[in-house]
Symmetry: C2
Subunit: 414 residues, 2 copies
Amino acid sequence: MAIVVQKYGGTSVANAEKIRRAARRVINALEKGYKVVVVASARGKQTDELVADAMELNPNPPAREMDQLLHTGEIQTVSLFAMTLQAMGRDAISFTGGQVQIITDNVHSKARIKSIGAERIRRELNRGKVVLVAGFQGIDEEGNVTTLGRGGSDTSAVALAAVLKAKQCEIYTDVDGVHTTDPRIFKDAVKMKQISYDEMLELASLGAGVMHSRAIEFGKKYDVAIHVRSSSKKIEGTLITHEVAQMEDLVVSGATLQENMAKITLVGVDNKPGNAAKIFSHLAQEKVVVNDIVQTEVSTEKANISFTIGAGDLRAAKRAVDKIKDKVHCESVFTREDIAEISVVGIGMRTHYGVADRLFSSLAKAKVNIDSITTSEIRISCIVDKAQGKKALITVCRAFDLDKPATKRKKTAK
Amino acid sequence: MAIVVQKYGGTSVANAEKIRRAARRVINALEKGYKVVVVASARGKQTDELVADAMELNPNPPAREMDQLLHTGEIQTVSLFAMTLQAMGRDAISFTGGQVQIITDNVHSKARIKSIGAERIRRELNRGKVVLVAGFQGIDEEGNVTTLGRGGSDTSAVALAAVLKAKQCEIYTDVDGVHTTDPRIFKDAVKMKQISYDEMLELASLGAGVMHSRAIEFGKKYDVAIHVRSSSKKIEGTLITHEVAQMEDLVVSGATLQENMAKITLVGVDNKPGNAAKIFSHLAQEKVVVNDIVQTEVSTEKANISFTIGAGDLRAAKRAVDKIKDKVHCESVFTREDIAEISVVGIGMRTHYGVADRLFSSLAKAKVNIDSITTSEIRISCIVDKAQGKKALITVCRAFDLDKPATKRKKTAK
């Protein structure tokens, strides 16, 4: 009998009625003959409330104790979920992360899973029970409680699906699936039927927040089919899976707009080996996450170095740059906060040409000025004026038919 | 360095300010040179709220899942408490029951402690940390979470004190200590300086709810000095300890009144061996807790059997009696709900005479009618009319000087 893992996020279990609805989905899967493992997050705003309780007592709470505190929210959900299934006549048993031996490293608040002992889960599944596992948590080798960081319940679910060789890992959420772009900006965005892990990873890193990167990486590494779908509607969502041939026919799968960005340019830095490394190690010391870097030679001695960051990191980034700018003989520093980044992602780019051309000419036709361009193997990003960001995204979506189902888009030359 | 265990009940950690106050008490003990282990209950109404959440989803929730759900409340308290101590500059670490290997049997919702692995606690104490342990909980041998039932955190604390050979187990609560009787009824009741385990056990079984019986039994068995004291005032409370000689000078230590009672009398039961056993095994099947039993022969063939129960058990008790009454040829059944029981407790009774006399004559002088009398080695109880219960208690308290400190009471002949 095949196993499915179902993961329910906090909004999908926020109250009694939602837990009952989720339980009915579990029963549906049982009736189709599956064994079901459920991973759940803390209910609604529970985690936020616990964080507030902690901050009141210690504005700088130690990570080990925060993990000990916060992991209780997920335990509450799975025990209540188990009771609900039992009230509906199904046998069910809930576990903490520690009880099913989800062993992690000891980096509290962002631990990584090292191993999962699935024996207890298998035994209970074989007894005909639904097994519920508290998401987001594990224990280290000393038995201390650890948590997996933002989006951690997704990672718990995908990791359990991997260990149990589940047929599928279903991620129930408050959106219908993964869309070609943000429907709040481009109302004609369509839901993708499927997407490759690599594309999903690019989209996640560009802020398309449906799933957390680490869960997707896990899915890719252990070949777990991940189905992102609505917890309130009975429609199919988006399957995140390995590349299949027809995915390559699609030159662009999705597009994103990031608005809360800033860009720093160091003008006239000495063009010497190691200077860039010095700058970015200073930024790392200030815990600034750098997105894209563009370095351009302006002469044999001098180069300009630009990079983009989240707007929230700007102050820390400036502090880092101020410390290093004289050592690399930087002539001046410019910062821009009035920027946005639009990106297109698609594994088809590897084999198709003309993608950049279509992108740039569509933006030119729409009179969108491009500040700079960065690319990866399956992504092209452009920095544009913030005021033109939404218009740029809509233009690009139309240019790549992101308002049409994948099968109906015009082909691009290979 | 000596160890003290401090236990804080739910009202003593109900909010941030109370947790800080409790943390300052811990620091006081550290400054006196003690190593400190803290056991805490769930904050304020947290447990009640979780029970309500469960009932909404399953009116008859399975005990294993209830334990899994409810044990989170205590974990939240100890992690928040640890953060508070750290904010005050003291190193602290919190543990679940399972993390410090509080191993119980697998009787969910009323488990009994089988063993405690104190190594981890000792190690952390020796590193100079305050160790906080979530009360009320343990794990069974399979790793399932269990809870210890009502008053379970007291039991956790006393058991930890026993294993760690602590100098004292301090129970912080919202009363000043153990009083000679309920001050809400007899306003001149005085706080006892000390009381023996056996007396405290009698008082606890008579509903004087300061501490739960099992914790006291544990203390007696493992010789743990238990200090019941106020969490808000800095005064000494009551020490529960082994008997010492001067305790015997006191003929009566305390008095109680139980008002929510009922009495059932089976009249004219066949006076044959095994008939009483049949009646009480039927009551046990209905889960009725029987307090006192009085059997009186009315002839060589017939006896009357009376017993008292909590008023809440009356319906179940009647059901049980209805099933058995014909088999024991019972002639008629009477029930009374308009009764109350007053009791006096004191280990001095073992060696003093005249206690019963003083009790009965004081009640007679006050024109309180006695329905029936039961005694144990250190207790005398009288059933009286409910309407006379409070008057009876006050009369008895005056008769035995329970409004005076122990040293100032009049002696009784030995």
